[in-house]
Amino acid sequence: MSRPSTLPITLGELTRIEPLSDAVAHLFDPARPVEQVVLAETFDRLRRCPPHVLVVLHDEAATGGWSLAAALHLAWERNLSAVVVSRTVAGSSSAALAERLHMSLIVIDADPIDVALQLAGQVSAPAAARALRQARLAEQLAEQNGIRGVLGALNRELRPVSVALVLGEIVLAGQAAALTDRHPVKQVEVAVNAPGERSSARLVAAVPVPGLAVGQVESLLKLARPAVLAAWAQSRLDAAGRAAHEQAAFELLRHLSAAPPAGPGEAEVEVPSWTGELGWEVGRANRAVWLAPVRPSGVPSPEVTHLVRAAWQRGHAAWPLIAEGDGWLSWHSGADPDDTAALRRALAGFRDSAAAHALVIGVGRAHDGVPGLMRSAAEARLAAHVAREGGPTTVQWFDQVGASAALAWLPTTEIAQVADLCLADLMAARDRAALVQTVLAVLDCGGSLSQASNRLGVHRNTVLARLTRARQLGLTFEDPGQRLALHVICYALASLAAEESTP
């Protein structure tokens, strides 16, 4: 345990504990130290105050109207820390004058003499006052049960210090201002990890200096650490449970839509009532979104799912996110199938996270009901496969895909292995990339040499020469029996080459 600070207590600290915690504080500088408390009942007493004094007005000095204005002016002349006055005396113009004079004004309801006595005790024993503040903070933290609540309480209590919970460089909760160092601030960091656990999560606070006791802030952050850990663990538990629940529920929906209708009259699959409990909306025009890693590597880990869920559901807490195969499925239900504004906004907001996790996004068309949702989900998944060609953050709408979507399903790696066996000469050639590209262009252009040379940007004779060499190496594409197979092989090899050349 570090030694308690004996620096003078600041205005910000005083206004966090009784008796000023209930007061209305117009603080100009919360980091301003308070060295002494004076109960002033005459203007003469005010005139004799040394700087850095907090003055409590009373009796003659607090008769209202002019007296508070004159007292504020004197306080400004004497460089006092703050003026405390009873509410019966302070009008709105007094607060305006205090702001104009850069003077802190604190308006109380309690008796000024009692307040002055309590404040004098606190100012003369700053360590005791700080201990009181820690106790108050501990009480507040105990009442919070979410990360946001804990960080909110910290930021409220430590103002003007901003505090954030940071994982790597990502702010999970709190004020992002804690990471910026525009003002003269000192950053205080406290690692947040359970015993034996390695984690890069930490509480970061930006403390304005000079003025605030950095050690004091650090001990308050440490006080908050167990609360943050508990809230975080709870939220991870909740998230895991919810993810499993959603996955099961979606699987059930899929079975429902696949089962044949019970009778000839029931063409429609009724939306089960339990979807409402999950906060899902199904039944109106459903448009599915498929989020997938640009390079699939099996089922994503729960941690990644947790992060993607947090990013996707920011601002759209009701939108589902279901881990499905190598990606995640979500959907948006609306009355108007053509209204995509909300979805487009969400996609724009998700862009940074998509870049961070190297994700691509496929969007299906809008269809009605549960079967419609399943259809849209399939479309979205297909669109996501097509989107992989564009690299991370690509968004592909199924409407714009068409039949070429089929190509996205080609097992290009396996086809390349076939080429290794069947076209060994070609695969061994050093210029095979140019040859494959040229044959693919000619086939794509229906055999037109001039179109192919335009597309490749080379001379027609070059195209002719390459075709001759390709034929010698086994690419006999004029043979109608082989043309489709060779076309597919060329497509697969060209896609692989393009993929290898992208980082």
Binding site: T42, F43, E60, T63, G64, G65, W66, A69, A70, A71, L72, H73, L74, W76, T88, V89, G91, S92, S93, A96, L97, R100, L101
Partner: protein
Amino acid sequence: MTASIAAEDVPAFYEGAKFYSPAVGDANRSSVTSWLAGLLDRNGPVPLLKVESLAPETPCVSVCVLGSGSAMADLPPAGDEFEAAVRRIERLEQTRFGAIYPLAAATISALVAVVTAAQLGVPLIDADGMGRAFALIHHTAMHLAGVSPTPLAAVGPTGESVLVEVPSGPRADRMLRANVDTVGGWAALAAYPTTAGVLRRAALPGTVSRIANVGRLLLERTDPDRLVTRLGAITGCRRLARGRIVELEHLSRPSDVTIPAHPSSLVVEEIGDLERQLRIELRSEIVAVFADGALIAGAPDLMCLLDVSRGSLATLDSLEPGDLVDVLVTPADAIWYSPEGMRMVGLVSHGIPLAHPRRR
């Protein structure tokens, strides 16, 4: 210099008298001015004499209106109250007054002094006891010079009268106030019977002709900037600030016991480079002006508000948030800045224990 006051001088006289007591409303305007103008038409102009031009042994008496101006509007004078009050003292002192002077050359009191002089057929002395209006009858230069206000007579609109004979000025005021309500809410007061020789050293000279001159300026209705410059030449007045009224504060605050008034505040945001917050303390008049909490003017200075859009003086009962006003300050007569004067009518008497800006 005005050697006499004629019927055509009455409107200017009224305006000038209002300048020196800006708190008073206009309730009496038409009745009193037409009464005075009629009298002057019938009896001829009232001579206005310097006190030095009178023989030192000439007996003189001051008159004024005691009590509330709105009560006077409700229960107008029968016409003989002031004459009766003067005659009452004449009978008691067994003398015949040779001249009248106003107790205060401000408010309606300045006009009733002319009325009384016209009725009695005697000249009016170009001097008064206050040089503006103060709240109590012993707030006079004569009191400071040791002249007793008594014997004094107060005659109400009911025709009833009160005669007060006490040795101390402050006692006289308390006894009178207890009777004013009973005799009709206001009373015609004749007080400070003395001689012209005493007035030469005890009264404030030139104050009656001054209000006539100020009134003529105010009636011209020029633009506010030029008006303030011209007023400055006659009265020494200057503009403290121009601003917009943002707040009227009626706080129930402990009031001092000496002066009957309800404390309240006016907050004005200054327009211009400084943009100060002005706080104007009101009692029955403006008693102090603070700029950002610093006292910049206070009683016995005479402070008034000039309505910039109308180019006329704003009375305190007509103020509204949003009004654009010039805050003007006019120095009072020098005697009021003496220690005795400050004790009587200075900031302390209004419960503001701060050093006056002119004496810092």
